[in-house]
Amino acid sequence: MPAARRVAVVGAGPAGLSAAQAALAAGARVTVIDAAEEPGGQYHRTVPAAYAPRRPGHLQHGWRAFEHRRRRVLAHPRCTWLPQTSVWALERPRPGQEGPPRLHLLCSGPADGAGRPRRTLDVDALVLAVGAHDRVLPFPGWELPGVCTAGAAQALAKGERVAVGQRVVVAGSGPFLLPVAASLLDAGSQVREVLEANTAATTARGWGRRPWELAAQAGKAAELAAHAAALARHRVPYRTGRAVVEARGDGRVEEVVTARLRADWSVLEGTRRTVAVDAVCVSHGFSPQLELPLAAGCALGERAEPGSDTAGTRASGPSGSRGAPDAFVRVDERQRTSVPGVFAAGEITGIAGAAAARAEGAVAGWSAATGGSAPRDPGTRRALRALRRSRDQGRAFAGRLARAHPIGAAWPGWLRPQTVVCRCEETDYGSLCAAFATEAGAAPRVAKLNTRAGLGPCQGRICGPTVAELRRRLAGDAPDRPAEGLPAADPHRRPLAQPIRLGELAAPSAPLTGPGHRPEEESSS
């Protein structure tokens, strides 16, 4: 009998947990790694065990199924679960060597703590399921305390029962605004209004076309309906074609200015209104966490429509307003990336929600465990076909989501010269315009050094896509001139996927040991 394949799954959200389950079912030895203490990712974020909750499933959709999956995976004899462990780097094989990259881990320690042990892990296949974070477009005052992402409000409400404010506006674009508003109501906040920037016509066109695709996502529709009902019960207005275009306050947000928008997100003058708030939660979509895929060398691309032969990545918005293709990890029918032995699943391949992430994860886990070969027994073949079908439905849903909630091209109309674009370095819109206007400054690397945008602690995770888009608009596609033989600048390329301290870096690293990964097996490749 051949030795079981060793599979590492990075991320234990809906995609990663389901990948682990499928890989275990296919006979692999699986190591599941997540920076968090508990599996679940963003979707199944729960209060910590220390809260001793009697009803941990409160606010959770699909909780029973998740609990079941979590127990099955973590208790499996071929599974090693590494909580509170960050993958801080991936090391590509040397030329001539085969296989996925080596994982560099910072093990079992409090977040950003000093002296976490460093370990390496070599596997036969790697599944990346690291998820996404909110994308927020800048607007005047967005750097004020009390302005946060919708995801932050959700994480605090669901994950530790903290309401970010008493009088809150939830704004931006996409169905995610609804669960966030519902969680805030549950936590006792007054939600003054929920603002969807796209007009009713845009969202109706996006959702209404090809309604049969929606039927396959009945669970999602029911979930959204439940949130909408919560809003109605609390008489929270849901307005389309309106956005927060400014936040104001002395040392923290005290009021927001909202305005009606046209379909392209230009402001209709004469429609500005001021709303008193102590918090505003904003999300204009999600950005995939691309550090690890890029470190592995995975190709990125736009997502194609399901059914086309280059399945993977996503459909861009109808207006082409995103400026350039959204970058997601490109995967094929079997969730293989362009790098042999590396698979990707969930929001890093396109934004489609938890159900789609689960389906993709299952396909990825199966492929990783079997090396992508087709199963022989008819039962497994049928099961795999069903999984792929549900994955394709998820992708169709993603396409529809992108069409119903595009980012309007005219959003920079909200900005003033003094508006902060890079939060870390406080680079303002005026300086960026000036830098991009000169030909030399138009090369990303030069502009970055001149304006410092993207050079702060977050390394451009927040402003990167925005700065890249502004540059394309203001400077055209001026080619980057690599400085001193460095590779061309990429807004997602970062040498360290997660922060590591110098002391930890200096300490020796050892291969990971444990039931699933005995060191003698690690070193024999």
Binding site: V47, A111, E160, R161, V162, C458
Partner: protein, 115 residues
């Protein structure tokens, strides 16, 4: 006072909650075990605890460890993301600034990251 912890008797998760105490720049702040430092700081009525290079106040923005707005020093360890670190009873939290100190500002408390 704006951000706060859902009161136990109103919390539909039916949580318990063991109290703990930390200090923030020497001032005691109470929370419960399991809270992140960011959650505890917010629930104790603070909206900001760090300064951007211009001196502008910052607190929580992304909530999940991406933006680095929420950095604090914990028991002498600088650059800890408050939204990711669970509070431990007795933690000594020091807030910081990336602002360039003026001569009158006294000792530099900046975290110095990214410089």
């Amino acid at each position: 006072m704006s951000s706060r912890l859902v009161p136990t008797e109103r919390d539909a998760t039916g949580r318990g909650g063991r109290p703990l105490r930390i200090t923030v720049d020497g001032v005691p702040a109470d929370g419960i075990a399991g809270q992140t430092l960011a959650g505890l700081l917010l629930a104790s009525g603070r909206s900001s605890w760090r300064q951007a290079p211009s001196g502008a106040p910052r607190g929580v923005f992304c909530g999940i460890g991406v933006c680095f707005d929420c950095l604090v020093t914990v028991n002498g360890e600088p650059d800890v993301r408050a939204c990711r670190r669970r509070a431990v009873d007795g933690d000594e939290v020091t807030t910081g600034s990336r602002a360039v100190p003026r001569p009158t500002d006294g000792p530099e408390s900046g975290t110095g990251e990214g410089q």
